[in-house]
Amino acid sequence: MAEKILPPEELGRVDYSPPKKSWMDPKVEFRKGTFNYGAVPSSTSYLDLPFSRKWQPTDDDWQLPDNWKEIILNGLKDRLKKYRSLKVFMDICVRCGACADKCHFYIGSGDPKNMPVLRAELLRSVYRNDFTTAGKLLGKLAGGRKLTKEIIKEWFYYFYQCTECRRCSVFCPYGIDTAEITMMGRELLNLLGLDIDWITTPAANCFRTGNHLGIQPHGFKDSVEFAVDDLEEITGIRVEAPINKKGAEVLFIVPSADYFGDPHYFGFLGYLALLHEIGLDYTFSTFASEGGNFGLFHSAEMMKRLNAKMYMEAKRLGVKWILGGECGHMWRVIHQYMDTVNGPADFLEVPVSPITGTRFEHAASTKMIHIAEFTADLIKHGKLNLDKSRNDQWRVTFHDSCNPARAMGLLEEPRFILNSVCNHFYEMPENTIREQTFCCGSGAGLGTDENFEMRMRGGLPRANAVKYVQEQHDVNMLCCICAIDKATLPPLMDYWVPGIQVGALHELVGNALVMKGEKERVTDMRSNPLPGKEVTVDA
């Protein structure tokens, strides 16, 4: 038999699956680098989650419980009763397609099921089939799909390919929020024990030790002391950083990555310097040693379970109000959920800055303010002595994190601070910042190593905008106020835009802050020489 000579256009088509006819076909392939590992039983059982077992998405048999269908449908019914958002969003989408090209995963992957409308249709089709008259009568013709195990796998694949960033909801004429739908989808999957490890294990750690990393109280104390040492080396000043101190005025809660991660840590040094300089009477807590909340990526209930520590600890320590560090989804929880789920915080007082006297009325009920709000107020009142030139090594651009931007509206405070602490600040293009900001591609529990390629795809739109300001303005620093950003933007930049460093807002504040009695600074918070202070070694 003669061998067939392939024309060039056929060469590359080696088992490339042809485009599917209809999205209703739920077949997904779990390819390495594009999905998250299943949760380990020790974490799921510690949190008393149902159907704790060892499993992986690549398994053929996901060992679903016998009554899995009933569980899902009852779970959906229950959530429709509890959430008007879900009910309305299931019914009113007109599939106009305005959201289609707004998702960073769609832009980066071209996979049509990453269009927000289709991500929602994956759930909506099952809703139609089992909860609407038209669907019950007409089935597929009315856009309904019968629930199958394949659909469960498809849900898992695509609901863990959404970072709940809410960008699509900005463009939707009805405000349909895919994050709501993804959250419900994940909750339904969790009912079958289909949790992912990168969410469940940090949540279990946080439940037990107070933080996602599982750092025990003495470890926390060590970390803070190391930071105090490092800061002393840089500034010559030994700051106090009280822990579990009863009767302090303010409880300060930061994401745990701040005292362990690189580059988060440099921002942590900035906090310590700042709070020392203004003489704030504050305390850290080992019990509430986590600002972030991976429970949010799991379920509303888990979010509440983990968040409860903040108010419990504020009450125990007898503080007046709470200050929160730089973190994205942490602020979604604090701003939109905390008071509702774990309030009222009637044992606290409306936050008042003891330095400027500003009363933060916008946090009158929750009694917790963002450190960017706090610092901006200090700077505005001229309470800080800032030397901008100590950030001259940086040409900065600012990445709005999804949650502070679209679930809070914290846009001007960080910009005001940046303009006060550095000389070179450049904005990325208008349709990639503020409420239109592009996600880092790793939020909502997707920032795992095993999911690396998917993260690179999802982060492409963000990186692409950074590349533009790098070309235009020689930008070399991407500043952000989110712990997940700080962890996942460095690899993203290394891949797409080499030469860009990622830094915290308060790292730049720490650099610029002239402290009373400090020694002549020769390095920045990274212990790198300041411009003009490089030590020249004669050969």
Binding site: V88, P173, H218, K221, T340, P344
Partner: protein, 332 residues
């Protein structure tokens, strides 16, 4: 396939009155002229009320505003009152912008890179323009139809009618909205067929709604401009329906029955379809809430106690290491 099924369904809805009314007697005319419209209106009204109440029965547990501008925080930072409302008036403004001007669709900005290199912000506003044109035209056409139901014709209807026929072209005078609505619907339809992403996400219901609306507008145009029907008779029917003394004048032609039947079908279809976005947009929690969740506590009616890890349990587990590290303890 999805498209043809929908087209077929609408064609059936057109042929049904065509055959039946043309060949039937007075009772058929009464069925299509009185019973079906009454059923349509009843289903429409009760259906909408049912659907809205059905939605409203589910609570809004969390204040999940999608903020599209600066929050209200410090007094010297200008907050965005409409895009990130902190008062009920701001929400009202935001909803009005959304409902009357399709604010969110308008957001579709687009950046183009010109030689230079210079960035220019352009508009990608076709969908917004077509959507707005279609909805506004439909509203005006709807209001214009009041002249068939009320005697004397309300003043505002006359004003709208005069404005709509401003150009005084043709006889009967051509209404601008008649043209706009067909053009806009055609654009929306073509977009659905020719933009692959949109075709991919389209369901039969999406085509059905478009065909039905196109059928209604075109049959309306046919009745008005081509197979002219007896206007006086139509008005007699309209006022009769409204005053619950319906009569079906013999002078009304078949073409009008097609128009009326399609409208009745739309009314019946409306509450059970995506067209309910008309009501749903007002209930969307990301748009209709004040972003003040830190200033004022939002109550979740089903908030329930959960299993938490208390400080006591925590200290019990870590007391020894805490003591060794010199951390303060509740129980020594």
């Amino acid at each position: 396939m999805k498209l043809f099924i929908s087209l077929l369904a609408v064609l059936v809805l057109i042929i049904l009155p065509l055959i039946l009314v043309a060949n039937g007697g007075d009772s058929i005319r009464y069925l299509f002229g009185v019973i079906v419209p009454y059923v349509g209106i009843a289903v429409f009204l009760f259906g909408i009320i049912y659907r809205v109440l059905h939605w409203a029965r589910s609570p809004v547990p969390f204040r999940i505003v999608t903020t599209c501008g600066q929050q209200r925080s410090l007094p010297w930072i200008k907050s965005s009152k409409l895009e990130n409302p902190h008062t009920i008036w701001g929400v009202l403004g935001r909803m009005l912008l959304e409902v009357l001007c399709f604010r969110s669709l308008f957001r579709n900005t687009k950046v183009e890179l010109h030689e230079g290199p210079k960035l220019a912000y352009g508009a990608d506003k076709w969908l917004w323009a077509a959507g707005l044109a279609f909805h506004w035209s439909l509203l005006i056409i709807f209001l214009r139809h009041f002249k068939y139901f009320a005697e004397p014709v309300p003043y505002f209807v006359t004003v709208i009618q005069n404005l709509d026929g401003f150009f005084q072209v043709g006889l009967p005078i051509l209404y601008i909205t008649d043209i706009i609505v067909v053009v806009a619907l055609t654009y929306i339809f073509l977009r659905r067929v020719f933009v692959p992403q949109v075709r991919y996400i389209s369901l039969p219901a999406d085509y059905f709604a478009l065909f039905l609306l196109l059928g209604i507008t075109i049959s309306g145009i046919v009745v008005r401009y081509f197979f002219k029907t007896d206007i006086v008779g139509v008005k007699e029917l309209g006022t009769g329906l409204l005053s619950f003394h319906p009569v079906v004048p013999a002078s009304i032609g078949v073409s009008f029955f097609i128009h009326l039947f399609l409208v009745s079908c739309l009314l019946m279809y409306f509450p059970f379809s995506k067209l309910m976005h008309m009501g749903g947009v007002f209930l969307s929690p990301t748009r209709n809430l004040v972003n003040n969740s830190r200033a004022k506590r939002h109550i979740n009616p089903w908030n329930y106690p959960v299993k938490v890890h208390t400080y006591e349990e925590y200290e019990d587990e870590f007391r020894e290491v805490m003591r060794a590290a010199g951390l303060p303890l509740e129980k020594e």
